[in-house]
Structures are given as structure tokens and as C-alpha cells.
């Protein structure tokens, strides 16, 4: 009897799977074309741009106050952080000093927004790993609490447009401090719930540990930022390395992962939520009554010519605004440096060689917002 080696017997062909733009696990309109050999991913080609709205071009036609509203629409899960980069870029160009009270309130709102955004991540990631919606509903309850507070302050649930060059649009509500404390107490329990639901779950650990690993050197080379970079072991947090607002005056820890896999990204984000709570509590004690805008603000903002690249630490990483002004009341060029854009570039490296099911989990662990990627 002659036996044939399997490779002579069969000719196998890789299967191309088109995941997205309509797919429940792509977090928006993201498309990745997977080349799979059985269950193993051999290649990934990402296609973005389905949400491209020409925001940078539009911003060139909007004056410095109109542009704020557009920033909300780029990063619809961390709107305050996006606004912050924009208004701070304008302030930097115009050399405006922001009153203390405004800075503290900005910090509180940005950290609350980080909380709400990470809650969204914990919920959505649970669904990616395959929990049937349970984590999702619990995470949304917590997020809802925070959004309620935002609505009370800004009048809108998602598109706040509340920060202004120089300070804030209007004073916060009278019961602001009490309400923030109330929300924080609920959120603390929420963090505990989300942590308890998944972190020590055996299947969750089996699914997330050791996949999507990216080394510190690779993460830096790909330009990753935020929790993705910190999970790989690089303690790079703009709040720490280049403190803006009042971050130099508060105490907080930067969680840094040791392995760089999906599980580390989860742990880092959970820990960041705890640190956010810590930061907000300190901010609340330091918040003093005072003006929220500088005394003399022009009706029409005009900047001197110049350029600035202003970056802040948004929940997903570095949200940068590169603003070039040639004088006048609108930017000559506005580039939005999106954290997800850079993080998503590294997806191919992380995914190749893993299983199809892991591709979804790895994508979920990057926590992308497609509106921010495509701008």
C-alpha cells in the first residue's frame, strides 16, 4: 500500500472573510478582510473611512467657537476630552490664562468622561468576548448615571460643546459637587461590579490571556497610545509626562501592564477607572468659587499667526490637535491626531496567527471609536 502525504492529497486554499462594515463586533463601520486558514488568521487588511466626514476641512471654515461642537462629533464617547484639546490649542495660540475654577471643573468633567468611556468599553468588550449582553446592560447603567450628570450641566447627553476657549460656556449647577459625589459613589460600585463579573472568570481569562500581545518596542513603533501602550509596559501618560490643567497637583497612579495582551488592556482600563475616581475626589476638595472665564474675552476670537500641536490624554490615548493659524478667526489648518487611528494600525500585527474568534476580541480590546478614526 502506498500512502500519500496529506499535502499531495489536498490542495487547500485560504478563505477570505469580509468582516464589516456591517458586523455586530466591529464597533461601528469598520471593515477588516481576514484571510483565514481553517480557523487561523493569516492576514488582515483593515479598511477605514466609512465615517469620514471631512472634519478637518470643515474646521477650516468654522471659527474657533464653532469648531468646538465638531470635536464632540469626532470622539463621541469622550467628548469633553476632545473639546479640551481643541480649546486648549486655541488658548495656547492666543495665550489665554484660564481661571482656576474652570480648570478644576474641566478636570472633573474629563475624568468623569473617562469613566463613562471605560464603562462603555467594559460593556462592549464583554459582548465581544461573548457574554450575552449582561455586562453591557450593567455597564450602561453606570454610564447612564454619568450622562445624566452631564445632561444637567450642559443640557445635552452626548454633544456637549461646553468648554470654551478661556473657560466654560456657563457655570455648573449649584448642586454640582453633591451630584458628582453621588455619581462617584454609584460608579465605584459599578467598577466593582464589572471587575467582579469578568476579571476572574475562568473562560474570560482563557479567552483573553496571551492573545493580541504587542511588545513595548512594537507599540511605540506603531505609535500606539493610551491603555494599549500602557498595557505593553510603557508608562506613558500625558497627564503624568506633560501635565496639563491641574494634573500636576493631584495624586494618581498610572497602571502599567506587564504582558501586553488583551487581558492586560482590560486590567489597565479597570484600574484607570479607579484612578479617575481618585482624581475626581481630589478635584472636588480643591474646587473653589470664582470666575469661570478671564475678565476680558473678545467677542470674536482671533489668534496671532502660529502653530501648535496640543495633546491631551483622552480615554483611548493621545488626542492631539495640530492647529495652524495665519491670523484671523479660524484655523488655517486643523489636524486631529486620533488615538484610535494609531492604535488601529497595529491591529494587523496583533491579529496575524490568532484565531478568528480572537480577532474580534483583539479589535474589541483596542476600544476603537470609528468616528475618531475617520474624523
Amino acid at each position: 500500500m502506498t500512502s500519500m502525504a496529506p499535502e499531495q492529497e489536498f490542495e487547500t486554499q485560504d478563505l477570505m472573510i469580509n468582516m464589516g462594515p456591517q458586523h455586530p463586533a466591529t464597533h461601528g463601520v469598520f471593515r477588516m478582510v481576514l484571510q483565514v486558514d481553517g480557523e487561523v488568521v493569516r492576514d488582515v487588511v483593515s479598511h477605514i473611512g466609512y465615517m469620514h466626514r471631512g472634519g478637518e476641512k470643515l474646521s477650516e471654515t468654522m471659527d474657533f467657537r464653532q469648531g468646538i461642537g465638531f470635536m464632540d462629533r469626532t470622539e463621541y464617547l469622550a467628548q469633553f476630552n476632545a473639546e479640551l484639546s481643541y480649546v486648549m490649542a486655541v488658548e495656547k495660540l492666543m495665550d489665554i490664562e484660564v481661571p482656576e475654577r474652570s480648570q478644576w471643573i474641566r478636570m472633573i468633567l474629563c475624568e468623569l468622561n473617562r469613566l463613562s468611556s471605560h464603562f462603555m468599553f467594559t460593556g462592549a468588550f464583554g459582548t465581544d468576548v461573548g457574554v450575552f449582553g449582561t455586562g453591557f446592560t450593567y455597564a450602561f447603567r453606570e454610564r447612564e448615571n454619568i450622562l445624566d450628570l452631564f445632561e444637567e450641566i450642559t443640557g445635552d447627553r452626548l454633544m456637549y460643546a461646553y468648554f470654551r476657549p478661556g473657560g466654560l460656556a456657563w457655570e455648573v449647577t449649584d448642586n454640582f459637587v453633591a451630584r458628582v459625589r453621588e455619581v462617584l459613589n454609584v460608579s465605584k460600585q459599578g467598577i466593582k461590579d464589572m471587575d467582579g463579573l469578568l476579571t476572574e472568570n475562568e473562560i474570560f481569562k482563557a479567552r483573553t490571556q496571551g492573545i493580541g500581545v504587542i511588545s513595548a518596542a512594537d507599540a511605540i513603533d506603531w505609535g500606539s497610545t493610551g491603555p494599549v501602550l500602557r498595557a505593553s509596559g510603557v508608562p506613558l501618560d500625558l497627564r503624568r509626562t506633560e501635565p496639563y490643567l491641574k494634573y500636576a497637583e493631584v495624586d494618581f497612579d498610572v497602571p502599567v501592564g506587564k504582558v501586553g495582551d488583551v487581558y492586560d488592556r482590560w486590567l489597565v482600563r479597570i484600574e484607570e477607572m479607579r484612578q479617575s475616581v481618585r482624581i475626581i475626589e481630589q478635584c472636588l476638595t480643591k474646587l473653589q468659587p470664582g470666575p469661570i472665564l478671564p475678565e476680558r474675552m473678545p467677542r470674536m476670537l482671533r489668534t496671532p499667526p502660529g502653530e501648535v500641536y496640543l495633546r491631551t490624554e483622552a480615554p483611548r490615548g493621545e488626542y492631539g490637535i495640530y492647529m495652524v493659524s495665519k491670523g484671523g478667526n479660524r484655523p488655517h489648518r486643523l489636524k486631529i491626531r486620533s488615538a484610535c487611528f494609531a492604535n488601529l494600525q497595529a491591529l494587523r500585527d496583533m491579529t496575524i496567527g490568532s484565531y478568528v474568534a480572537d480577532a474580534v476580541v483583539i479589535l474589541g480590546s483596542l476600544d476603537i471609536v470609528l468616528c475618531e478614526v475617520d474624523r
Binding site: 477605514i48 471631512g54 478637518e56 476641512k57 513603533d221 505609535g223 492631539g320 491626531r337
Partner: protein, 179 residues
């Protein structure tokens, strides 16, 4: 500001900035400094920019291992500036590098050989500004449709709202008849 302007203003002080160290790292490359609002800006001629960037990355004192952002600015008739925002994760300092391109010769070597992160940024600049990066590993469009390669939306001469794109059929500029 273009490199000519920067050269015309040599009286700016660079005390307390990293310019002197950058200058040392960029020996043999004609770089011009400029005091930006936040970071120091270094103008490097187009032909030398990749060599300069690699020197900045490999130099032990500089160690700019992290490309924050890469973008382009259209200077309206005065060519374009390709801008690199650099950061060093080990040293913690920032630098902005600019390369000036003439409007009639929008070619530049790719920076993907220095940082892989430059890949998508360069693709975006290619489709938005029409700057060609030589030897780019993957020169497809990124955000725009695949067939939209003959118009560059972020250029200043590009109209903002009067374009009607018919995918797969090229581009039809909306005229009064078509509206």
C-alpha cells in the same frame, strides 16, 4: 512660517530648548530652527529629511523613537509643509520637524522606514494633499474611495461643499445645470 522666514529671523533665542542637542545630532544636515508656540520646530530640506529623521531616532541623546503625528499643511501657492511630530519615550522631549515641498514637485521619501506608524498617516496625506511618498509600502487610499485619486480634498484650492461624487464614475463637479 516657512523656512525662509525662519532663516530671516535668526535672533530668536533657543536657550533652555533642545535645539543645541538637536543641532548636534543633525550634523551634516542643513537644519533651521524655529521657536514654536509649544515645541521647537526644525526645518529640514526635503532631500535630507528622512536622513535627518533617522539620525534623530538613532542618536542616543535624542532617541525620538515615537512618531506622534505626521501631517501636511497647504501654504496656498507657497508649496506644502510636511510636518512630523516626534517624541522620545525614554527622554521625554518633543520636537516638530518640517519639510518644505514646492507646489510643482510634491515628492518625498517615505518615513515608514523610520517608524512604522508613519504608514497610515502618509496614506492620508497622499490622498488628501497629493503629496507622493516614494517607496511607500502600501500606497492605496485610506479614507477616500479607491477611485478618488485625482482630487485632493484638503488642499486650499479645493472647494468645500460644491462637489458631487459619483462613485465609480469619476468626479462630477456640480454645476448649475446638475443642481
Amino acid at each position: 512660517m516657512t523656512s525662509e522666514d525662519a532663516a530671516a529671523a535668526p535672533l530668536q533665542s533657543f536657550d533652555g530648548t533642545i535645539w543645541s542637542a538637536v543641532d548636534k545630532a543633525l550634523s551634516g544636515i542643513s537644519a533651521q530652527p524655529e521657536r514654536g508656540v509649544q515645541d521647537v520646530i526644525v526645518h529640514i530640506p526635503r532631500d535630507e529629511v528622512i536622513r535627518g529623521l533617522r539620525a534623530l531616532k538613532t542618536n542616543a541623546d535624542m532617541a525620538f523613537d515615537y512618531l506622534r503625528c505626521l501631517t501636511c499643511v497647504d501654504n496656498e501657492g507657497d508649496g506644502m509643509d510636511v510636518v512630523y511630530m516626534l517624541y522620545s519615550t525614554t527622554k521625554g522631549h518633543n520636537l516638530t520637524v518640517k519639510a518644505h515641498l514646492d507646489a510643482n514637485d510634491l515628492h518625498l521619501d517615505t518615513a515608514t522606514t523610520v517608524w512604522r506608524a508613519a504608514n497610515w498617516y502618509e496614506r492620508e496625506v497622499m490622498e488628501m494633499f497629493g503629496v507622493r511618498f516614494r517607496n511607500h509600502p502600501d500606497p492605496r487610499t485610506l479614507l477616500m474611495p479607491e477611485d478618488l485619486t485625482d482630487t485632493f480634498p484638503l488642499r486650499k484650492d479645493h472647494p468645500l461643499a460644491e462637489i458631487e461624487v459619483l462613485q465609480g464614475e469619476g468626479i462630477a463637479w456640480a454645476t448649475e445645470e446638475s443642481v
